[in-house]
Subunit: 342 residues, 2 copies
DNA sequence: GTGAAAGCGCTAACAT
DNA sequence: ATGTTAGCGCTTTCAC
């Protein structure tokens, strides 16, 4: 179990110190951008460090109580345009900062999440972004004390008062449903997302609210449980289509689900949108690549990631800052998968 | 510049030692699975560590010369199903091991790659997987001595004798082209990938070889430079379609490019595959979601990731192991975007 | 078998 | 403005 590899010899701060004729800590100060260093000394140190190809040892820095300039990112998985878009936003925003990103996937690793959080918070990173944590409570509990800076994305928590970023899920779903109603659709199927997720519940509520406001009776048989995955869209649509009175439109809780719906409908030979309309949610990049191009509710995915980073950076700079919740607006994007009721 | 956050107090190995009435180093030995520890002691230590919620500090472990149980992963970006599929394979395989993954995106950060490599190799990780490094040489050079374990995915390097994983790009392209020829196509457009990538050149060679073997004259006007991105597929197809004698089939160097081709063709009103056939490469998940479903050359993406991990783990266990190159087979997947010449 | 002690490379008081 | 020194939490000789 012990393959004690020799430590690869490194150029340390000490080497740089020796080489540039100053002390140990002066080099540290220069490297950390401290003020009280003479200009000429700073120059000299920087130059020799550069010349010697010095690279800071993050472990040591972290251990000694310094910052790692790394922010941890916990995501369920990478198999989803929704996630990767947000990650991309995080990535972009981080590029403008001095921070690097370290990404952990929790997918398939049940129960490992809290270990990850602990490890990250133990010093591996200066801050943490939790993407769609399926049970935020558990994770947050794992945080050693609540003073470790973190931001929740697309999931609220009601135990700790966390800083969060999300989108107007309710409003988005309401808008999409109202839009379909305006097109003349009365029987609108709904395929729900993973019910443990806040967004799924909010979208469901938005759907129902729109029906109610337009005096359309809520029909339980038109609502299918799902999990935000393509498969659930496929099977859900199959079920809806086999109803005695099938819907003339289907609102899928996210685009991935909508793709499954599209597929199921294609198989039956029905035409989209002539025979049946389909609307998704998220506007992931593929939405406009699908055939027909998907009408959907756009979440500003990239922006969500960027805002998450900004909020975290704020916290990092000023730990006393109050937690807050930022909710970004969604927008209905009408493409080719929806049309007036035929 | 200095927001000296207090170090968050941790449960250390020392706490566990005190609590279980043994020494400091005994705990370390137990935690590292050393042999010479009495069974009862081991039990006791393990139990108290568990009870106290002890989580190892990776920084400290690494600094002291231990292993981090982290493998670093360098990817250009996450905006591509091709990458995320491989990452997913890596992730899956890692789940069966004691290692965690730390992912770095180099996208947009020109010149930062070698810094990353250095940082990672400095102790942040025990090994490194480089995904499609655009100029491997530069990175590898950065590795402090050549004894840091790493694996190259989908890119060969001819300077250092690196362990690599890739797929049969040449053969795959040959097969796809030969298939189109067999369908009766004579004028086959080709949209190339990013020319600095090995895979792009190999696929191009495969395309030409197939033409030659079937005695079809190579027509330069049918070959468009691209970069593996959707846009280049779109603009490339537009150009091909506006030719005096447009091709009856287009072979795109990857699926992303093929999507752009599909889009461009749809816009002109031409039917796929009746009027024109399209073939891609990679078989990313969307390939079967596109309309029409894309005929493509499947790369075993997930498997590539898995193999990369296995090779790295081998190296980790036995640093003396020789470098080797594993090339996995591609497979032509015929779907709905190709048909005999009309 | 187990404990004591010396670092790993760095930051952050504390001096000067 | 710069040097000195004490750790951070851990692994790893070296003793016992």
């Amino acid at each position: 179990m012990q393959t004690s590899r020799k430590k690869i010899s490194q150029i340390t701060i000490l080497d740089v110190a020796r080489e540039s004729g100053v002390s140990y800590s002066t080099v540290s100060r220069v490297l950390n951008g401290f003020d009280f260093v003479k200009g000429s000394t700073r120059e000299k140190v920087l130059k020799t460090a550069e010349r010697m190809g010095y690279v800071a040892n993050i472990q040591a820095r972290s251990l000694a109580g310094g910052k790692t300039q790394i922010i941890g990112l916990l995501v369920p998985g990478l198999d989803n345009g929704y996630i990767t878009e947000i990650v991309s936003g995080i990535d972009q925003e981080l590029a403008h900062s001095d921070y690097d990103m370290m990404l952990y996937t929790t997918h398939r690793y049940q129960g490992k999440e809290s270990l990850y959080v602990k490890t990250i918070a133990n010093g591996l990173a200066d801050g943490l972004i939790l993407l769609v944590p399926h049970n935020a409570q558990n994770y947050l509990q794992a945080l050693p004390r609540q003073d470790f800076p973190y931001v929740l994305v697309d999931q609220i928590d009601n135990m700790y008062n966390s800083t969060t970023v999300d989108a107007t899920n309710w409003q988005g779903a309401y808008d999409a449903t109202a839009y379909l109603i305006k097109l003349g659709h009365q029987r609108i199927g709904f395929i729900m997302g993973a019910p443990q997720l806040n967004s799924a519940r909010e979208r469901f509520d938005g759907y129902r609210a729109a029906l109610q406001h337009h005096r359309i009776a809520y029909d339980e048989s038109l609502v299918i449980e799902g999990d935000y995955m393509t498969k659930s869209g496929y099977s859900g649509a199959k079920r809806l289509l086999s109803l005695e009175q099938p819907p003339t439109a289907i609102f899928a809780s996210n685009d991935l689900t909508a793709f499954g719906v599209l597929d199921a409908i294609h198989e039956t030979g029905l035409r989209i949108p002539e025979d049946i309309s389909v609307v998704g949610f998220d506007d992931i990049p593929l939405a406009s690549l699908a055939y027909p191009k998907l009408t959907t509710v756009r979440q500003p995915l990239v922006q969500i990631g960027q805002v998450a980073v900004r909020l975290l950076l704020e916290k990092l700079e000023n730990p006393e800052r109050e937690a807050r919740r930022v909710t970004l607006a969604t927008e209905l994007i009408v493409r080719d998968s929806s049309a007036p009721r035929g």
